[in-house]
Symmetry: C2
Subunit: 215 residues, 2 copies
């Protein structure tokens, strides 16, 4: 998903690929940049560069956590001291477990309440606004800038300004339609989409799908 967002947004933005290993981030950035140049040519306004996760997080206006849930805690630990309240953290992270063939959404349980990953993250990051988005986008299709993605993208967040920025960034990706679905607590229902889509692929061969709201 990181590759896909980089390839889509580099058309108009500076993109930084963060990695635990800065060298690895730089190599990925070079690879993505070559693909982007081949696709966009002179229309491309941005560049892609690599950095360590903490450096990438410190420099970016918007940080998208394109990491599996298993690695989220250690990544957050490595970047949280570098974040400022004027930045925006976007979480497409989904806690889920594999059962037999299928995936099961596995939200955080706190007493008699269920918490989305995005809400738990927001609590940890305190003043830095967290926006939940991009849980249900096919990483494979996103990484092909020639493909037009005709999806609805449910977005949740408490900070109006931050939500607006993420809605705009979403609209920049051709045919993606951001759909605001409420405060960050609504992230619970968005995160559940990921295992639903994975299971639809496993059991009904609907591969690399996303969702749309149909009226």
């Amino acid at each position: 998903m990181g590759e896909g967002l980089a390839l889509r947004w580099v058309k108009s933005h500076e993109v930084i690929i963060g990695s635990r290993d800065a060298q690895k981030g730089m190599r990925a950035a070079e690879e993505y940049l070559a693909k982007a140049r081949a696709f966009y040519g002179d229309v491309m306004k941005g560049t892609i560069r690599g950095a360590s996760n903490p450096d990438a997080a410190a420099q970016a206006d918007v940080i998208v956590l394109t990491i599996p849930h298993e690695h989220a805690a250690s990544t957050i630990l490595s970047i949280r001291d570098r974040l400022k309240p004027c930045q925006i953290v976007v979480s497409p992270v989904v806690p889920m477990v594999k059962f037999d063939k299928d995936m099961l959404y596995s939200p955080i349980i706190e007493g008699n309440k269920v918490l989305s990953y995005a809400e738990a993250l927001a609590r940890e990051l305190k003043d830095v606004p967290v926006v939940a988005a991009y849980h249900a986008i096919s990483a494979k299709k996103l990484a092909n800038p020639a493909l037009v993605l005709n999806y609805d993208v449910p977005i949740a967040g408490d900070d109006e300004g931050a939500v607006k920025v993420v809605m705009e960034l979403t609209r920049e990706i051709r045919n993606l339609r951001p759909v605001y679905v409420g405060p960050l607590r609504s992230a619970l229902m968005i995160e559940a989409l990921t295992p639903l889509i994975i299971n639809a692929a496993i059991y009904s061969k609907i591969k690399d799908a996303s969702i749309a709201f149909v009226q």
Copy 2:
């Protein structure tokens, strides 16, 4: 939703409207039948009749629990002794709570595990197969047989035969596409769709919507 399913299925099936008050069930059945006759005319093969919940449950091959979560426990209590393992119970029930303007999915918490309503129900009904379906269908649109519903209907269940019957019943409603998404534990992700769709309506004015998987 009960009205919509009755109006759609009466074309080929005998429909029984169960109610806590048998008289109320009969009045509803009469009203739906009049609507169905006006719409289908001679093409209609089934009828609609009313009964008390226990009597309706005892007679039906497939029982769809079109009841809000708040009334589910008392309804189940009133019908469970009348159910047999050869029947099928379909659960579109979604436990959710209202927060401020929006709805929040509120699954059952058991120790460190989250359980969908459908799984809790299956445990209570023991030998009677439970299939999770119809959580994300607009009741309003379903109740107008002239409308073609271009939705995907995620379905979860452990009993292969029961799932097959519900898939078939779903296909009988014009343009609905049943999508099997795995064993009953996948109901967790399907149930979460209802508050997601409600919140999309509240915050983004996407009214009476359902979902489709987009490839």
